[in-house]
């Protein structure tokens, strides 16, 4: 049963991954990514890591790919991209080379390491105990053994957010025309502020 | 018969009397009265300058601008004798909110050169009205930013409010529908 689920999911994951690369339409590529992520979530389930599976769906399919699609739609990149021109010269050759090197590395690890590298164990760090709840195990691991890594990751993400905000700020924003002075006298009513704020 | 004679007489005295009284003027333009309202009769050339004067005098709004085609009624009333009448007239209604007064301009536009300076620069509110007048009478307005048809379809032939325009001859156009008239 587990094997059957694994084979089906692996097929979904792989075909999704190929779809991401091969799709000419960026939205189709993003959808293929969803298939891959979903397949991985089911693989997590298959391994008994329920929490990870759900988090995978919530965070990756539910938030990240949605954001990717959001950007795609907002920018209206719905036409087929021109594949003839390469933004960076020779990037395809380099990409193929790097891909081959990575694949070779993975193969090498499997071949050299034999059973030692691919043990079939549920997890490389801690075995999932069937009796203790999933959430408890992950929580304990995260906040004891890996608390430093967790904090570093949090810090990294915060820095990334701040950086993104800084980058997206435009020093000279829209420059609308100043509002003309109205013939009517604007009182000291607090409403004045709202009016002007919203008018811009 | 007696009535007719009396009427003739009245007419005669009227036409006799007009040259004696100097024509009334306002803002350097001929002025007449119509139903209690002031009517000015500027020429096409003096129109832009008059508008500027009026704007300074507090006539901040052109409330209405429309055309009239006097093709079948050339002897119109209310126009002073010194003004030579033309086929078209553009009637502009201005309002002075401070003095609560209205002013009407009647501009004579000849049929062979149906054009007038646009009031858009001073009175942007005439944008749609001038377009409508163009659409309906074919009077073009120099200096109008976007003088296209406004009520009729883009490619409509003719100007429907001209008196020599025969309504009903042109089939109503729906895209793709055969013209069956």
């Amino acid at each position: 049963m587990e094997t059957a689920v694994f084979i089906v999911c692996a097929l979904i994951v792989l075909s999704g991954a190929i779809g991401v690369v091969m799709s000419r339409n960026p939205v189709h590529a993003a959808l293929s990514l969803v298939a891959t992520l979903f397949g991985i979530a089911v693989l997590f389930l298959n391994l008994g890591a329920q929490l990870l599976a759900v988090v995978q769906v919530i965070v990756y399919t539910g938030a990240i790919v949605v954001l990717i699609l959001f950007v795609l739609m907002l920018l209206g990149v719905d036409e087929d991209e021109d594949l003839e021109t390469e933004p960076i010269v020779g990037q395809r050759v380099v990409a193929v080379l790097i891909g081959l090197v990575l694949a070779g590395a993975v193969l090498a690890v499997i071949i050299i390491g034999k059973d030692a590298a691919v043990t079939g164990a549920h997890s490389a760090t801690a075995a999932i105990s069937p009796t203790v709840a999933n959430v408890v195990q992950i929580g304990q691991q995260l906040f004891t053994t890996y608390v430093f890594a967790l904090e570093i990751t949090a810090g990294l993400l915060t820095i990334a957010v701040v950086g993104a905000v800084l980058l997206s700020r435009r020093p000279k924003d829209l420059q609308p025309i100043p509002e003309p002075e109205s013939m009517t006298e604007m009182g000291d009513d607090p409403l004045t502020v709202t009016t002007e704020e919203a008018a811009h | 018969m007696a009535d007719e004679a009396a009427l003739d007489g009245a007419d005669a005295t009227d036409s006799d009397a007009t040259p004696e009284v100097a024509p009334e003027e306002l803002f350097g333009t001929l002025l007449t009265h119509s139903g209690g309202q002031l009517v000015l009769h500027p020429s096409r050339e003096t129109y832009p300058a008059l508008l500027r004067t009026l704007h300074e005098a507090g006539y901040f709004s052109i409330i209405d601008l429309c055309g009239v085609d006097y093709l079948t009624h050339p002897g119109r009333s209310g126009v002073p004798a010194s003004v030579s009448t033309e086929r078209f007239e553009v009637v502009v209604n201005l309002i002075n909110h401070q003095q609560r007064s209205r002013l009407r301009l009647r501009l004579q536009i000849p049929a062979d050169d149906a054009r007038l300076a646009s009031a858009f620069d001073l009175y942007p509110g005439t944008e749609a009205m001038e377009r409508e007048t163009f659409d309906m009478f074919g009077i073009s307005f120099d200096g109008h930013p976007d003088l296209t048809r406004i009520l009729m379809p883009e490619d409509w032939p003719g100007h429907p409010l001209r008196k020599d325009y025969d309504p009903g001859r042109i089939p109503v156009q729906f895209k793709g529908a055969p013209a069956n008239r």
Binding site: V27, H28, N46, V55, I58, T61, G62, F70 | -
Partner: protein, 413 residues
Amino acid sequence: MIAAASSIAAATVSGDPLLAGHIDLVIVLIVILKVVVIFGLMLVATMLMIWFERKVVSDLQNRVGPNTAGPFGILQTLADGIKFFFKEDLKPARAQMRVFILAPFLTVVPAFLLFTIVPFGGDFSNGHDGSVELFGHTTYLQLADPAIGILFALALSSIAVYGVMLAGWSSGSKYPLISSVRASAQMVSYEAALGLSVCSVVLVSGTLSTHGMVMAQAGEGWFSFIPHWNIIAAGVVPFVVFLLASQAELNRPPFDLVEAEQELVGGYHTEYSSIRFALFFVAEFMNSVTMAAIIVTLFLGGPAGPAILGPGWLWGIFWFLLKVLAFLFLFVWIRSSVPRVRYDQLMDLGWKVLIPLSLGWVILLATYYVARDQHWNGVITIALGAALGLTGYGLLRFAIGTSRVKRLQGVVE
């Protein structure tokens, strides 16, 4: 689709005693029976919900509403469904056809799946654990009770957005496109607020399982139930946040920007017709029912309630339906009385109010529990925590105010 759900549920099941031991044919049949019953009930409930909404709205608006098909017009939805089924299915020429066809199913499948984790009956009074006897087996009156229960609901609602987004995008039309852009931003924003308010509940209940939550909120007698409810135990704040965020998540007024008729014609389903449109319609109302059920489970004790006479599980169903109906009425009431908010106001509400509020509340609750476990002085800890939270919120408001002033100055210069 339900079969798929049950296989996931079976793989993740933890609580249901039915699946604890050896699984034989009877148990499989019981599960299938549950699936079929829930599927049918959901369809009927959706039908009734559409009728209920139209009827209540029309009452609130001084008009009659559906009154011809069946008694009180109750069959109106059925008639509409039949009509939709026989309507011509228009396919826009510029649509991305495969995605266009897929999108309605992407909305309707999560809507069905969502109900699997809702406990809708059972006797929770006097210490009973809500289990019932069915063909000689003990089971819960809910399709699945995975350990990660409520997270499953969040995951499904985050998938549900795909249907809306892709429908809008694939239509090849501009209004639906704007709608799907709105949908994606809105869903991602309110998912966060939704999740954070669920966090408070999880903290209080100590479990992610929906059955466990209902158990935690059960009590004895008539009025001992109510103090256990999370609406009180977790404070009112998470409840309010969840209620608001769920309205946004459901695209219901006043947060129905995605299909704001006055602005975007029909929103994402502008180009849809016939049964495909009906699927969106069904999914939307089904989600309303399910969301009401989830609110009831999270905050009002689900089916837990006193059993007076007769079988307790029937009382459980009765209490559950009563609470759900109350919420459905509330939804309809809100819909008929408030104008729609604007897109930027919606985002402001989500990011500047609801998310900081629910985050602060989670931290405050956590502080309280830590203080209790460590035997600190509860009052002082809470006061400190609250003061810190308020300071943080004040700083946030200040920052927002400053940025607004700066923006205005930049505009003026």
